[in-house]
Amino acid sequence: MSEVPENLKYTSSHEWVRVEQDGTVTIGITDHAQHELGDLVFVELPEIGTHLEIEDASGVLESVKAASDLYCPIAGKVIAINTALDDTPELINQSPYDKAWLFKLEPTENSMPTLLTATQYIESITNTE
């Protein structure tokens, strides 16, 4: 069974979202997603300063198995990307919720969509596990 921390929000496309105290958000992919993808070997992240809309393709995760698009769960401006993943994409397999955050956004005002709670996300993946 995959790990699904209580304190995060989720999307049905397997991203996690953490709202920080300063109002910015941090985005990554879930433990379930990294299990499904297999060993990650290459990550393409959005450029800092890019404005993203909800569900924009904001990057690509390539595992040994396949390439998967990364969808932006929230509208906003990219303010940071995790450059450590350039050389060590395997961090996504090892630490999907901590060391392998993907990028940080400054959300567009009043743009916070409804995201899944941990319980709802667990329900959404239970059928496929």
Binding site: G38, D39, F42
Partner: protein, 351 residues
């Protein structure tokens, strides 16, 4: 419902991620495909390849039959136990399948063909065997393991006392069939034994430290080793000459008639090459490749090479000589070096 090998429950016990492969439920990996890849390159691992089809051919004229059926010439098999890799062609010169044939006795040869092509292979072989009075017997009572890696011999010896080690590309047998063949580029063995013996043998291998390896690592290992995969790098639309397999076609002696021979007289229009990506990114099957002058080809299979740390691929290109080509991935034009496979020998880059 997908078929299961005799080892299916053993795979579940080792936490395999199971996928459908050629109609079989097979292990993709047991946790990490990349770790499994390194395990085989650096030490030893075992693959369940029982999904592959084993066919025994018997009859007084079996050698004559195989000299007609296969593009490579079994006349090259002079010593008992010797193996030969060959394509089996249709009349148009297209590849029906690639296979390994073992010479066991003058009246008995063993073929190993792919799982996904089983039905058409058996139909084709049976159809042509009739006029040679050759008996075709599928051996679905047998399982097959591949023990591969630089430590394969050491581990196998510790398990089977007095194991006669066959020379490369040869087999020995009594109760079990042990062939010095494989699909990884490493030293290793393919072992054929009864379905009801294979679970114990698997357990014994794991007990002496041989780790189970999934089909995911099998794919990256074979690509690094420059070996084609049927259905991706070759199929009935292309001849072996257009699939990097000219070395497997025996045109001599000139009076040997084999199926597809006439069609191979035509000059090939395409060439198979190896690509090494010079940028970050991953080459994948079906991506478009453009060569100098603007003509295009495409990638037949591509992956990340765990040994080299870059992406590698096979590509089918318009006939010509190339040093580098462009590959467009998600609207970005990337550069790939053109090489002659293999990519990796003895754990190191060899191009």
């Amino acid at each position: 419902m997908a078929k299961k090998t005799a080892l299916y429950n053993k795979h579940l016990q080792s936490n395999a991620k199971i996928v459908n492969f050629g109609g079989w439920d097979m292990p993709l990996h047991y946790g990490s495909q990349i770790n499994e890849h390194h395990q085989v390159r650096q030490s030893v691992g075992v693959f369940d390849v029982s999904h592959m089809t084993i066919i025994d051919l018997k009859g007084q004229r079996v050698r004559e039959f195989l000299r007609y059926l296969l593009a490579n010439d079994v006349a090259r098999l002079k010593k008992t136990g010797k193996a030969l890799y060959s394509c089996m062609l249709n009349e148009q010169g297209g590849v029906i399948d690639d296979l390994i044939v073992y010479f066991q006795e003058e009246s008995k040869f063993r073929l190993i063909v792919n799982a996904g092509t089983r039905d058409k292979d058996l139909a084709w072989i049976t159809q042509h065997a009739q006029s040679f009075s050759v008996e075709v017997q599928e051996r679905d009572d047998l399982a097959m393991l591949a023990v591969q890696g630089p430590k394969a011999q050491e581990k196998l010896k510790s398990l089977i006392k007095d194991l006669p080690i066959p020379p490369p590309f040869s087999a020995v047998w009594n109760e079990i069939f042990v062939a010095r063949t494989g699909y990884t580029g490493e030293d290793g063995f393919e072992i054929i034994l009864a379905n009801d013996q294979v679970c114990d043998f698997w357990d014994n291998l794991l007990d002496v430290g041989v780790l189970p390896i999934g089909l995911g690592a099998r794919d990256t290992l074979r690509l690094e080793a420059g070996m084609n995969l049927y259905g991706e790098d070759m199929d009935e639309n292309y001849s072996p000459l257009e699939s990097g397999l000219a070395w497997t076609v025996a045109f001599k002696p000139e009076d040997r008639n084999f199926i597809g021979r006439n069609a191979l007289q035509a000059k090939p229009k395409q060439v198979m090459v190896g690509l090494v990506l010079q940028n970050k990114g991953i080459l994948r099957a079906h991506q478009t490749v453009s060569v100098e002058g603007g003509e295009i080809g495409y990638i037949t299979s591509g992956t990340f090479s765990p040994t080299l740390g870059v992406s590698i691929a096979f590509a089918r290109l318009p006939i010509g000589k190339y040093d580098q080509v462009n590959v467009t991935i998600r609207k970005k034009v990337l550069v790939a070096q053109v090489i002659t496979p293999p990519f990796v020998r003895q754990g190191k880059a060899c191009f």
